[in-house]
Symmetry: C2
Subunit: 641 residues, 2 copies
């Protein structure tokens, strides 16, 4: 607590210094001050995270389970945000209005990138004694000012929202893809895809429509400031779930792996879906300006956008993942684990950048890159690199996740563009709950028609209950806060995130008990005793259900392609391509098969398969000073060819 | 090569798009374009680093030793920089001159943070058909324009110089501190401190004076644009050495550890010294504006600045390191390695930030924080965290180092503020060589008066030869490029870095052979056969040499404090404080001693000492798929209390 109080008192000192010496402060000192404020902001979050880490340790040590680390981060953030808000005075930004110089010629219809201001020119400056020398200063473009009266920009403890999309989210999403338990993910692929794709779109639509209705009923100016597209955008951004807290408890209590896989898989994919969906809504908005009408061609265009951007981003990510697998298979870079790990990190980051450069969605690319890296590349890595990359992304994920939740707490008080509207907030809470219900129950009913065994009712309740909102919702909400409507959305989203993470997350253990969902050793392995065991049985109960039958055929086809073509091509797995490819492709197959693939026994196929090596939250489940995965990896590490 | 060519062709495409649709491009599309250019810049460097990693692997595989990875990074950077420069057309920034609105009142003597521009106002915009709507845009402060005629700002493949100090250098410096072989470092502390502190200052002074003389002799306008402080600043920034290449070859060929320790230790410390020194010179400059005169009080003030900032930064770093040691000793956070690693990373970063907030030097703080973390905290960490933090910083260091050298290559062509002056460049090469000689030979002579055994002549030549320039010189040179003098310095520094890293680095193996410095197994351990073995013998040959005698006493005192007070207090090492503290402090000592310290046997003291666990460039020396340190760590890991 000391570190944190001292940083707060330091802000006060800074603010005081800045105000006291306002008239004679040199420009250079001002630049230094800005740098120090930046450093101080970072320091506040660093100290908050340190505090969170220490408190989590105390909680784990005393086996407190009603508060997860993200909930804790939010609460600490709220406390510090309140102190910063009410303790320090506002360090406001100075501005003046300018006009172009009379002789200016300019041949573009977009505003210039830079302005050059002669200061103080003929302007009167009340600096008292010393005359201010005339100098030229450069100013660079920041954006349009919509509301000219109200643009207080505050330097305190806020960051550019774009850092969430470019720095904080990529490692979180990559880690989710890299640590996906793919066996259970693919077993429940039908349910996961239905909930994530159809469910998120449905939820967005329902929330958007309900909110639009609510807003129309409100007796205030709010009604006119929201278009249907605005509420639809709100629906899209509040739909993705982020059940970190629930999943941590699941892995602690060893809840059924299929339930775990459904909740985790859905939350990973619906982040990606919501991001692309909100992008498509914005594109629609851009194309048809702000009339808010509903044009069928534009609607189809938005759907086309959604499908195109999602699948192209997926493709970019998957291709980069496969390229990395090829590089690690056909070079001996595994002899130098440092180089290998660097290569792995660089190509994964390149997937994000390539997608962004091509105007696709980097987050989606990095998710599927992560899945491919885990499915193929991981098998080619040296044991040192496996361990290193796993630990690196685990740490990055931990820091990024806790940073974003701390920021949600702090920004609740310090971010200057909040707009509290009680009716909108209440409507937001109600509709987001309804949206989650519409996502789960009807779709579960439909899924159960073609599923054997069906998803039991208590699992459906748990799926509904796991609809916590998190990082992606917040990042989307804070990205654009120009209008009052968007500011009301940010406030509501922040409150929903805080409430669900702290309250719903805290009640997860009780919910499990209340819903009588089995926990303990029996739940978390494949042994038996659960009715929900044999999902992969490839014979759908209802053969008449065409979609389900087709999906099963698709899954079988994919399984065959994966095990006969992709795995032998991209990894050292058996059977080699020379056995699986048709005869006329044998020469090519021979080139693409390594000596290692020929010489290894069939049994090593199982042992080097990565799925069992990768699991989430090992540290949470098994408190030990020696990572159990480590010894497995070391044991499995085979000599280089 | 394909990735890289495709990214270059993509630039061409982008530039073409940008020019073709120049008149009707929407503002939003422009923001997207800027984001894409940012992503593209990052992508270029990511691909370059990937290429470097793959080429290094080929070189290591084929045992090519005449080109180190940093040399390779520079060369690839140069090639790509040249292609970007000569293939793409310039995507110039647009600007207009503005004046304050007539009615403006402004009550500060510093220019405002923001300007609000009504666009297009009454200005004529030649957008052809459509009228441009009047909107208000925000512009934020960037800096002073000194040379109004020439301020082309280029968006291509350049970054804000501050990122070097805030993002790239801290992990490099921390890693250097964390991986220091402290046993040999402390054995040679006298020589290292002399070379790093006295030597760097001396070298800066000699280079500054010689350059000032050279500049005065030049028959050009350059003579008037350089003050003595400018050339002194050049001396300070070109003095720190960065012998990465040489050290990699040393560890490959197992050269004498004391020579290794001297070269590495000096290069670590002289980075910190040069940074603080250049800051002190700039402060001096700020205080006494630009007359370039030499005032004795200001000079003493600068020396005071130097000593104060250096020692306070050291203190901040060391305190944070010790605080982390206490946290890891007295909590059981080691049971959750993820939390422990996060705590370690956060506190280390906090050391940097706290120093920056207090207007000290973050880089110096992070260096000494790294040394303390290695000396104390490392012993308290779980084996998983030891491994994880070591690997994390190794990877960060690798990526940061190669990024900066790639950037040096690329920026040679793309950075718009280069100023090629052949005489200044030649003078820079000659004086920097002389400066290195002045650093090594006279100081070695003085050291040898009080040293037993003395530093042999071939070691002195090798020390001289290891004076490659690197990351710190470049970062300091590119930080400030407002004047022509500073631009000439940047160009000269870049060329010196490139030449020394590529040529001198490439010739290191031959230099070792030519100087008959022993290599092989005998050189890299303490066994015997070398005359240079027993440096620690605490009896200086010349008892009359007061300084040396005092230094030895200081070293003994420090050793006693360290082993009897600090190690027992901050780690689980024996003997416990209850045995070493005087009787009246026993109750306190009992509180500060853990059960583990009482119960462990004396022999575990040696085994958990971290020094032997930490060494640099393991991956380079021992190509193996299983990190040998790993198994040692796992073996040494003792159960938690």
């Amino acid at each position: 607590m000391n570190l944190f109080l001292s940083s707060v008192s330091f802000i006060l000192y800074l603010v005081a210094v800045c105000q006291a010496s306002g008239t004679d402060i040199a420009l250079d000192a001002k630049a230094t001050l800005l740098h120090r404020i930046d450093s101080l902001n970072l320091l506040i979050y660093t100290c908050l995270l340190t505090l969170t880490v220490l408190t989590i340790w105390v909680f784990k040590h005393r086996r407190v389970s009603w508060l997860h680390e993200t909930g804790l981060a939010v609460i600490y953030g709220l406390i510090v945000g309140a102190i910063i808000r009410y303790a320090g005075s506002t360090n406001q930004v100075t501005y003046i209005n300018v006009h172009p110089a009379p002789e200016t010629k300019y041949n573009l219809s977009v505003p210039p990138d830079m302005l050059r201001l002669h200061f103080p020119d003929k302007m009167q400056v009340s600096s008292g004694d010393a005359p201010v020398p005339n100098k030229t200063y450069a100013y660079s473009f920041r954006g349009e000012i919509v509301n000219v009266e109200q643009n207080e920009i505050d330097l305190k403890a806020t960051f550019d929202p774009e850092i969430f999309f470019n720095i904080i989210l990529p490692p979180i999403i990559f880690h989710a893809g890299y640590c996906l338990k793919r066996k259970y993910f693919f077993r429940n692929l039908g349910a996961i895809l239905t909930f994530a794709m159809v469910g998120t779109a449905l939820s967005a639509l329902v929330i958007g429509a309900l909110m639009y209705g609510c807003v129309q009923l409100m007796p205030e100016s709010l009604a006119t400031s929201f278009t249907f597209l605005d509420t639809l955008y709100f629906g899209a951004l509040i739909s993705p779930t982020d059940p970190l807290t629930v999943l941590a408890i699941f892995s602690q209590l060893k809840v059924d792996v299929n339930l775990y896989a459904m909740i985790f898989g859905e939350s990973v994919l619906n982040d990606a879906v919501a991001l692309v969906l909100s992008g498509a809504i914005q594109n629609y908005e851009l194309r048809y300006s702000n009339d808010g009408g509903f044009e069928i061609t534009a609607f189809l265009g938005a759907i086309g956008d959604f499908i195109g951007i999602f699948s192209l981003s997926l493709l970019v990510g998957a291709l980069i993942g496969c390229l990395t697998a090829l590089m690690t298979k056909f070079t001996h870079v595994r002899e130098w684990p440092l180089l290998e790990s660097a290569l792995f990190v660089l190509t994964s980051y390149a997937a994000f950048l390539i997608a962004e450069v091509c105007e696709l969605t980097g987050v989606v690319a990095v998710l599927f890159c992560g899945i491919c890296q885990a499915h193929y590349t991981y098998n080619n890595l040296s044991s040192d690199s496996r361990n290193r990359t796993k630990q690196l992304f685990e740490l990055l994920n931990f820091l990024a996740e806790n940073f974003i939740f701390t920021y949600i707490g702090v920004s609740m008080f310090t971010f200057p563009k909040h707009h509290f509207d009680p009716w909108f907030i209440i409507a937001g809470f109600v509709t987001s709950t309804l949206g989650r219900a519409v996502n789960i129950y009807p779709l579960s009913f439909l899924l159960n028609l073609g599923r054997n065994p069906p998803i039991p009712m208590n699992f459906q309740h748990m799926l509904f209950f796991s609809g916590l909102r998190g990082a992606m919702s917040f990042a989307l909400a804070i990205r654009n806060t120009v209008s009052e409507a968007r500011q009301a959305m940010l406030t509501t989203t922040s409150l929903i995130v805080i409430a669900t993470v702290v309250l719903q997350g805290g009640a997860a253990t009780h919910a499990l008990a209340y819903l009588r969902i089995p926990t303990g050793e029996g739940g978390n392995d494949e042994s038996d005793a659960l009715p929900y065991r044999d999902v992969r049985s490839d014979t759908p109960r209802d053969r008449g259900d065409g979609v389900s039958g087709q999906k099963a055929r698709l899954a079988r086809l994919w399984g065959a392609v994966d095990s006969k073509l992709l795995k032998p091509l991209l990894t050292h797995a058996r059977p080699p391509l020379t056995e699986t490819l048709p005869a006329f492709l044998r020469p090519l197959a021979r080139v693409l098969t390594t000596t290692h693939q020929y010489t290894q026994g069939d049994n090593s196929l199982r042992r080097t398969d990565s799925d069992s090596d990768l699991c989430i939250d090992d540290q949470h489940a098994v408190p030990t000073s020696i990572d159990p995965q480590l010894s497995i990896n070391v044991r499995n590490g085979y000599g280089h060819v």
